[in-house]
Amino acid sequence: MAEKKLGLKEKYQLMTRGLDWETTYQPMDKVFPYDKYEGIKIKDWDKWEDPFRLTMDAYWKYQAEKERKLYAILDSFSQNNGQLNISDARYLTALKIWMQGITPAEYNSHRGFCMVGRQFRGAGARVACQMQALDELRHAQTQIHAFSHYNKHFGGFHQAMHMRDRAWYLSIPKSFFEDAMTAGPFEFVTSISFAFEYVLTNLLFMPFVSGAAYNGDMATTTFGFSAQSDESRHMTLGLEVVKFVLEQHEDNVPIMQRYIDKWFWRGYRLLALVGVMMDYMLPRKVMSWAEAWGIYWEENGTALFNDLARYGIKPPKYHEIATAEKNHITHQAWAVFYTACPATGFHAWLPQEYELDWLSEKYGSTFDRYYRPRFAEFARIEREGGRFYTNRLPLVCQTCQVPDFFTEVDNPMKQSIRQYEWQGMKYNFCSDGCRDIFAHEPEKFCQAYIPPQQIYQGNAGGARTLPEYAAWLKCEFGKDSGEYYTSEDYARWKAMHGGNDTTPSSAAA
């Protein structure tokens, strides 16, 4: 007689809860010492519902199938010189920042989920974290493989892991993940799974992968498809975490609200890097940052927080500031990248005429009034044979670590600076949101590794000037950094196209 086959649900039950037990040689609180100190109260871990009910054997099967497809396409991309099909070599700045900033963050996310997978005493949560830990490791690896082909032809891809610990703009994602990893397990999952993966991930993934597709980058587009089903699993986990914790005890509500407030704001500040990619680095445009914010936060986010209202959760603090800033931050960020690019691992440039017009159209209320004149002045300097680079380190926010290019919501001509004094020392911030986060945990954020301060203290290989600092990043001016239109990348791109400048003249794909 054939053996009875287990149903999916039954199998999931046996392979997760069935493998768990109450310890007797040691008390459970000693075996799992980290899942109570944050003050989150869990009455019944069995109420954890994993919506996917994926078992490890099924997980390996699905992922192996996706890997086979992905690597077949990456091989073909490489053999057919796929780099020739991208819209313009300027597009690569988006990939370089991803490779330097986000890929290491995926790896840190892997480390974080390994830790919390060990720290939760509930078996369902542990299994979900285990799978996400593997996903994140896989994403870091497949991204490196997808981008590695470009490393054969272009600058800036060669030292991502070295730069990640040293570059000023990469301390933004680095500090985000290290803040999460050094928090308790519930704060970690709320920060990464909920605030980042559930609330904000569409703003990260959608523009990036669509941007790759619009700009002819088959390698990255295929990576995006291969990661898509993982991302939807991560999003579902994020929502499940929050609902589970909120349903367990009413005392959890204020703690979770604070986590949501903090991580929404940190996530939003991190996304400035994505916004500037959409508006300035993609030669073929997908949609503007302001449009994406409208759809993915103002519409979808509002619906989500309407749903969560029944648990007593309010929309994240300062979300209205984030919305008010949507017509400004990308233009401000690109001015920083344009003026500071010699101290990075990417190239920057002035937008082409068609791009200035596209920006005017998308940002009718702000671009022509506040930002086009600034680009016009940079252009005047270029016409007269110069190229304006800043030679001074900027003020960097103590919390989000973004150089403080932000301006007051009611006055786009005035820099937004906040100060907080703690134990006799002053700290400077870009916003009320970042100051509040610091004020809640000054013992933690006073330790932040703020790049300009570290350089001035002599901790950047002794560098005191920006060229010395760039050398310490292992970035060479003209090869990996500085103006695009005088770079080796641009020269090589032209050579690949018979000596012609193939810069697009329209935003349409």
Partner: protein, 119 residues
């Protein structure tokens, strides 16, 4: 509030003044001139006169700006750490009340950027 932790949680600030070898770190912003998009950071001795700082350190970073040459230092309207501030140009930063991690900003009346557009 304090950081919730599993044990004693006490660490020295990464940017404490002892790490600056007698110098201080300050930030300076020329308001309404966003060609340089961020306030700039300086490491300097607290005994430098404000005028010497402006001429020897701040000017070289801003000289490319068409309006910098028109600045009259005597008329600048200052704030220090967000509060109105009337420094003496020939006095040192220390004598003027500037401390480690201070934020200084000024406006030059009549100068509002190229074409008055804040650039």
């Amino acid at each position: 509030m304090a950081t919730i932790s599993i044990g004693e949680y006490k660490f020295p600030p990464a940017d404490r003044i002892e790490n600056y070898g007698g110098d201080i770190n300050i930030y300076v912003c020329w308001e309404h001139h966003l060609l340089i998009p961020c306030p700039a950071a300086y490491r300097l001795p607290p005994d430098i006169a404000l005028i010497d700082f402006l001429e020897q350190m701040f000017r070289p970073d801003h000289n490319h700006h068409p309006e910098y040459a028109k600045i009259d230092y005597a008329t600048l309207v200052w704030t220090l750490d967000g509060k109105p501030w009337a420094p003496r140009l020939d006095a040192s930063l220390r004598e003027n009340g500037v401390t480690h991690m201070s934020y200084l900003s000024f406006r030059a009346p009549g100068l509002d950027g190229v074409n008055g557009d804040g650039v």
